[in-house]
C-alpha cells in the first residue's frame, strides 16, 4: 500500500515537472542560445532589403539625371539620342556641288523638253552629270531612262552612256 502511494506521488511529481517544462518552453540557456542565433539573422523587418534597394536605385538614377543636367551632361544625352538620326542625313551640299547639280539639272531638263539628244548634246550632258554627287547622278539618269522608256526621248546613235 505504501509502495503504491509512493509510486503515485512520484508519478504526479514527474508529471508536474514535465508539464512545467513543456508549458514554459526551453531553459534560459537554450533561450539565450536561440536568441543569439536569431539576432545573428536579420529580423524580418531588416530582411526586406528589396524595396529599399529598389528605392535607392531609383534615387541614384534621379540623382544621375540631375547631375547630368547640372553639369551640362543632359545636353550630351540628348545629342547622343539624336545622333543616329543626324548621321543618316547627308551633309548639306557645298556651293560647288550645288552649282554642279543645277548645271546638270538644266541639261536634263533641256533634253526632256526637247525630247531629243544629239551626239554633241549627249557629250555635254555626260560631262555635266559626272560632276554631281553619285545619288543625284543616279536620280537624273533615271529621269532620262524613264523618258526613253515612255518614248519621249530620242537619242542619236543611242548614246546614253551617262
Amino acid at each position: 500500500m505504501r509502495t503504491a502511494i509512493m509510486t503515485i506521488l512520484v508519478g504526479m511529481g514527474c508529471g508536474g515537472l514535465g508539464f512545467y517544462v513543456g508549458h514554459h518552453g526551453p531553459s534560459a540557456e537554450l533561450r539565450a542560445a536561440r536568441a543569439a542565433v536569431t539576432t545573428a539573422e536579420p529580423a524580418p523587418a531588416e530582411r526586406a532589403p528589396a524595396p529599399s534597394v529598389c528605392v535607392a536605385s531609383v534615387d541614384r538614377q534621379v540623382l544621375r539625371e540631375e547631375l547630368a543636367r547640372a553639369l551640362g551632361g543632359g545636353v550630351g544625352v540628348e545629342a547622343s539620342a539624336t545622333a543616329p538620326a543626324a548621321a543618316k542625313e547627308p551633309p548639306p551640299p557645298t556651293p560647288a556641288q550645288a552649282a554642279a547639280f543645277d548645271d546638270a539639272r538644266q541639261g536634263v531638263d533641256g533634253a526632256l523638253a526637247r525630247g531629243s539628244l544629239t551626239g554633241e548634246q549627249a557629250e555635254d550632258l555626260r560631262a555635266r552629270l559626272r560632276r554631281v554627287d553619285p545619288d543625284s547622278h543616279y536620280r537624273l539618269v533615271t529621269e532620262l531612262v524613264v523618258a526613253l522608256n515612255h518614248g519621249k526621248l530620242k537619242v542619236e546613235d543611242g548614246d546614253m552612256m551617262f
Binding site: 553619285p134 545619288d135 547622278h137 543616279y138 539618269v141 533615271t142 529621269e143 531612262v145 524613264v146 526613253l148 522608256n149 515612255h150 518614248g151 530620242k154 537619242v155 542619236e156 546613235d157 543611242g158 546614253m160 552612256m161 551617262f162
Partner: protein
C-alpha cells in the same frame, strides 16, 4: 591529157571538201542571234535582250546595246533601232550591279524594267556560242 586534168580537179575538189568539213567540225557550236529584241508596255515597263557582239555585227548598223556602272549605280540600255526607240533601266542593287559588271563584249544581256526605270531583273550569259566581236 584532159583525163588527167579532170582527175586532178576532182582530187582538188574532194580534198577541199574534206578540209572544209574537218574545219567546221572542229569549230564548236555557234549561236546565230536574231539581234536585239525589245518589248515595251504603255506604262514604260518592258524588257530587252540581245548579244552585244551580234548587235555590233548586225548589217543594219542601228542596233546598240550596252551596260555601264559607277560605284553606286548601273544602267543597261538597248536600242533595237537607234533611230526610233530604246529601253533602259537603272539600279543601285548590289547584286544587279555585280551582274552588270560581269558583262563582256560578247555577252548576251537580258533585263526587265518597271515603269519607274528601275531594273527588276537582269541577267548576263557569257556563251562560247556567241559571235566574238571582230571589229
Amino acid at each position: 591529157m584532159s583525163k588527167s586534168k579532170s582527175k586532178w580537179k576532182l582530187v582538188m575538189v574532194v580534198t577541199c571538201a574534206i578540209l572544209m568539213a574537218a574545219g567546221a567540225a572542229r569549230a564548236g557550236y555557234k549561236s546565230f542571234s536574231t539581234g536585239i529584241r525589245m518589248g515595251r508596255n504603255a506604262d514604260g515597263s518592258g524588257l530587252a535582250s540581245g548579244a552585244l557582239s551580234h548587235a555590233r555585227a548586225s548589217s543594219d548598223s542601228t542596233q546598240r546595246m550596252y551596260c555601264y556602272s559607277y560605284a553606286t549605280f548601273g544602267t543597261c540600255i538597248a536600242f533595237p533601232n537607234t533611230n526610233t526607240d530604246g529601253i533602259a533601266c537603272t539600279t543601285q542593287d548590289p547584286g544587279m550591279l555585280a551582274v552588270i559588271r560581269s558583262v563582256s563584249g560578247d555577252s548576251t544581256v537580258y533585263f526587265q524594267t518597271d515603269s519607274a526605270g528601275n531594273c527588276t531583273n537582269l541577267a548576263v550569259f557569257n556563251d562560247s556560242g556567241n559571235m566574238p566581236k571582230l571589229n
